[in-house]
Symmetry: none
DNA sequence: AATGAATGAGGATTCATTCAT
DNA sequence: AATGAATGAATCCTCATTCAT
């Protein structure tokens, strides 16, 4: 695979046909992996079943023994990809303690994936705006599960008093993922670079403080917050300069 | 037209030939309007020249007397649509007084358009990610003009001391339109409803506070969240550009 | 015109329509001249009526007031062009005395035209092999008239005893024009150069001697002929080297 | 097939895919034969894939499983046709003894093919002047192989002393095939008849004499015409190449 | 005579999908 | 389960030609 797909073997690709024999399963997975690469390289329209079949080394018709259609294939590639991401997050999150650290991990992980797996991410982002109900619903669903983790973290922080109770949890999704998508877009097309840890740090920092309950506020909220932000930026600038 | 396209008749569609005879002009406009609808219904790829011609009641070839290509046609549909939006905004804005109110109007107007004209907006959003040079440049241009109004409002507020002088005006694009896009996304596909006035209010509030000069900052630590985020992104962005 | 078309104004373009008013005639000629250029630049298929009309500065429909069709237009361009060539030859030939000199003039003139007017000549050569009866017959006719002059010169030389009586006159056409066409082809496409006077000299020399009656042969036919040929080649080489 | 295509079944049409199953092969050949006919009847531009498919009785898309494009299809038709001609020549030539007789056979064979297979020959001749890189290279290649046989015959005659050693072998192409093309031209379009044996005899005679060693030259001054022409052209050509 | 808007047939090519073997 | 040959619909664009004004 051209892109680094984290933890791709962790999840079980749902078998489409009655016979769930290991051999069939392996073939299904191979197709899925190859399709992932081709979709990432060429986009949905640009990818062709024949190329996927050729790369796997099977006949075109065989793909239709494993998947219903090209759309189904992309759908499963996407589900599988995000299942992998979610699985990795869920495997790592328990070992991370603290609200701030958890959020920091999510941001860094998401932004890094957007860049490392720019190809499939672009397909995801583009097809999300398609006029096709199937794609829209599947992507909406995947997205909900993916961003749901973040919302859960925030929700949990609220119950523990680390975030003020009236914070509109759903906004996290719009603010963070929407902004990240826009910020990352240029870099995803190979134009410009992004310092992932620096941005993740800065965003986490700002967001955590922004969500903090009033009681936890420091005496001079403006100055302290600004200090930390400045420190974060200073770090970013230092890193950027060295590259 | 299936979608409510605000103020579509106000602007003059650029004539293709030197002869700007009224009859030709009318035909050009009819094609533009019909193409708008078809693109909105089916998306760019899904729309076919033959369907547009059929709906107008002319031959396919005739369309090519008025437009250079399918891409040119969508380009002009988009330009014309956003010209209409801009014209409407510019007609109403003078009658609205106050920085807060002007911003509130923009947000409400944009979000409402995203929902009311979801079809053509999705085409716009999708093709903005198409990596076609032509679309990219035309969309960039339209986008710049459209978001320019908001930037001008902010700029004006800066000169009047209502917004702190160091606010990075260019960020308006990422913050406002990026966030609104995400907020509207689900509803644009007919899934779920959105309380436009409420969201517009909330966003305006947050942004106005975030942009307010330090002196006017409230003790609430959450208030500075947005502008700090912006500042962080602004610095990051500046670095990316220099590379 | 991009190509130098010798004596283009000498002939009368046959009027297609009833009214033969001077103004119409002038317009017809302008169209013919412009069409000549466009065909020469783009070939028959590549030329479009609209471009011709645009260059003339008239409407497309107007061309059809003067010509029946695109084929008719090319046909008349070709006829007119070769009429011009023939007229020029016939105007100059009387002033040239001697069989050898006349032939030399023809060769030089033809080869020069092939190169100077490579564009229209290529159209002529290519369309001569078309699957279209109209073009084939018109080109055949033009060709016959054009090469007929050469045959007449040879025929005349026969009656005056300068060429042996049993020389197959028709061969002149195949040998000379066929060979010239092949030799010139590469240069006509801008690949390689040709020393027109040198080739014309050599060909004339060789042909005249080859056609001479046995009685006129020199004592040692091989040596004398070879001498002259060598001399011709020497001249060619001298010229080529200097360029 | 409408035209007599000599020995068309002798060669193996290059398979497009690695699997060279007999059935596929047969289908490929059928398409090739049908395409040959259609191209011969209508020319390259005039032929349509849909007509070829219809005549074969298959879908248009199927043709693209066997050939890359229309150009590829004509290319292979041409290669296959000339492969057939070459195979037939090479099968018969060994049974013919004597330089004069071999040459006579080539001339008669080529001229006869030009007339019998006028359709495909015209396509060949026309596309050779099309300035399409693909056609130019494939035709150049086919031409080289085809004319190579004649050159080999001459070369062999040189080693046996039947042709003078300094005869520029490459000229065979211009002299023989160029002249034959012109000779056959009118008859190829169904206008006029040609006495193939007579012309073949005359040309063979002239060429054999022209190429004969000096010692064997007759006193007739006309006899040396051809080889002197050739010599002149050869020198000129050599100069052109050096530039 | 001139216009020029409109025509509409025409064609190469792609590719997801099917089905007989 | 696998094959892979065959399908055939679907589409953008060009341009010579017409005809109402």
């Amino acid at each position: 695979m051209t892109e680094t797909s984290p933890e791709t073997s962790a999840d079980a690709p749902e078998p489409r046909k009655r016979s769930v024999r290991p051999k069939t399963l392996a073939r299904t997975r191979t197709i899925l992996e190859t399709a992932h690469d081709v979709f990432a390289e060429r986009g949905y329209e640009g990818a062709s079943i024949s190329e996927i079949a050729r790369r796997v080394g099977i006949a075109e018709g065989t793909i239709y023994k494993h998947f219903d259609s090209k759309k189904d294939l992309l759908g499963q590639v996407l589900v599988r990809y995000y299942d992998g991401l979610i699985a990795e997050i869920e495997a790592n999150l328990p070992h991370i303690t603290g609200f701030h650290e958890k959020l920091r991990y999510i941001f860094g992980f998401h932004l890094q994936n957007l860049l490392t797996n720019a190809g499939i991410s672009k397909v995801f982002l583009r097809e999300a705006r398609s006029h096709d109900d199937y794609f829209e619903s599947i992507i909406l669903d995947v997205n909900r599960r993916y961003t749901g983790i973040t919302q859960a973290i925030v929700q949990d922080a609220i119950t523990r008093g680390e975030v003020r109770a009236d914070f509109p949890v759903r906004l996290v999704r719009y603010l963070v993922f929407g902004t990240l998508e826009h910020v990352a877009w240029r870099a995803m097309s190979g134009r410009g670079r992004i310092d992932v840890p620096a941005i993740a740090d800065a965003l986490t920092d700002a967001l955590v403080r922004g969500m903090a309950p009033p009681a936890a506020a420091e005496p001079d909220p403006a100055s302290g917050l600004l200090d930390r932000l400045e420190a974060a930026i200073a770090r970013i600038e230092a890193q950027s300069t060295h590259k």
